[in-house]
């Protein structure tokens, strides 16, 4: 007897047929990925968790329209990106009250030796990315943190591959300027480039 692990497409087909357990399996399989990307966009764990829930509800609603000719993760990323961009725009139109802003930094602890330095570095990186124009920010988040190729980013966003390449080049040039002090510190400390 062979055990068969359902593919993402199998699970989506089952969800379209009303199988709630399939949705549970899909959530468990992808919740870390969705949560991580939502957090990068929104910069807040609570909002990211809410957004991730909404994303999976949207997946359930849209399941009957999913066609397996597109990779499931591409489709999922598209829903995450659209939802988070809408969330960011809504937030800009109606900013939260001061009481709703977390008093402590919302960055998860990194593996650096000095946690304070790690938080400050993370805060600066997050601020630099948040300051990018929306399309550059989207391209960088998918490229740097989700490890998507230019072509995959184009499929997620619906932009042309050449537009994605142009956005990435400009985005990294902007980030290089903004983060130069940190990058120079890395170089003088002898940190190897390419560290993830």
């Amino acid at each position: 007897m062979t055990s068969h692990t359902p593919t993402d497409a199998d699970l989506v087909a089952a969800i379209a047929g009303g199988d709630l357990n399939a949705l549970g399996d899909l959530v468990h399989r992808h919740q870390d990925r969705v949560m991580a990307l939502a957090y990068r966009f929104l910069g807040c764990r609570h909002r990211a968790a809410d957004a991730a829930q909404e994303v999976f509800l949207k997946v359930a609603r849209a399941a009957p329209r999913y066609t397996p000719d597109a990779r499931f993760t591409t489709w999922l990323y598209r829903i995450v990106v659209n939802h988070c961009l809408d969330d960011v725009r809504r937030q800009k139109r109606s900013p939260r009250t001061l009481s709703a802003v977390p008093a402590v930094p919302d960055d998860p602890p990194g593996d650096d030796a000095d946690p304070l330095e790690a938080d400050e570095t993370a805060r600066q990186v997050r601020a630099a990315i948040a300051a990018l124009p929306e399309r550059q920010r989207t391209a960088v988040l998918l490229h740097r943190y989700e490890d998507l190729s230019h072509r995959a980013i184009a499929e997620v966003t619906g932009w042309t591959p050449s537009a994605v390449e142009s956005l990435l080049v400009r985005a990294y040039a902007n980030l290089r300027k903004t983060l130069a002090p940190l990058a120079d510190g890395d170089a003088s400390a002898g940190n190897p480039p390419g560290k993830r």
Binding site: P108, A122, L182
Partner: protein, 169 residues
Amino acid sequence: MNHPTPTELLDRAAGRLPADRLAEVDRHLADCDACRRRADDLARTWSVLGRWPAAAADRDLWPGIRLRLVQANDDGGTLADEPAVAPVAKPAWTQVALKAAAAVVLAGLAGHLAGRWVVETRADRAASPDGPTLVARTMHLHELGAAYPAGLADALPTLMTQDETEDTP
């Protein structure tokens, strides 16, 4: 060889440049200071960006999602009732523009109806006979002129002559 493109340098920093092309680019960087500086800058930026840690889900999202699905079913709704992707809320200025457009349409409609009422009232007035005409119709004067091609005006001299003759003893 040609200088590597900015996209190739990006792919190199991301570790996605194909091995054969990577070897060519690295040979070029060994000889080209400008390209090597750009490549080093990109690699450092790539590295710094990696110091923003990811946030994994610190709790299982499924119970909350399941609860919302159950509540939706209890309310009599189904998932299919809701749009898969919420429509993007329109900015405030479009709301104002829509209200202004609605006001213009309503004003135009009111003007149109008022204009029609005025025109119809005038037409009704024009169609109703004035006093002398009503008296003439009551007296059937139009029948007197029916035998004459020019109507009553043509008949009157003849009729008046007859009357004078009949009245004369």
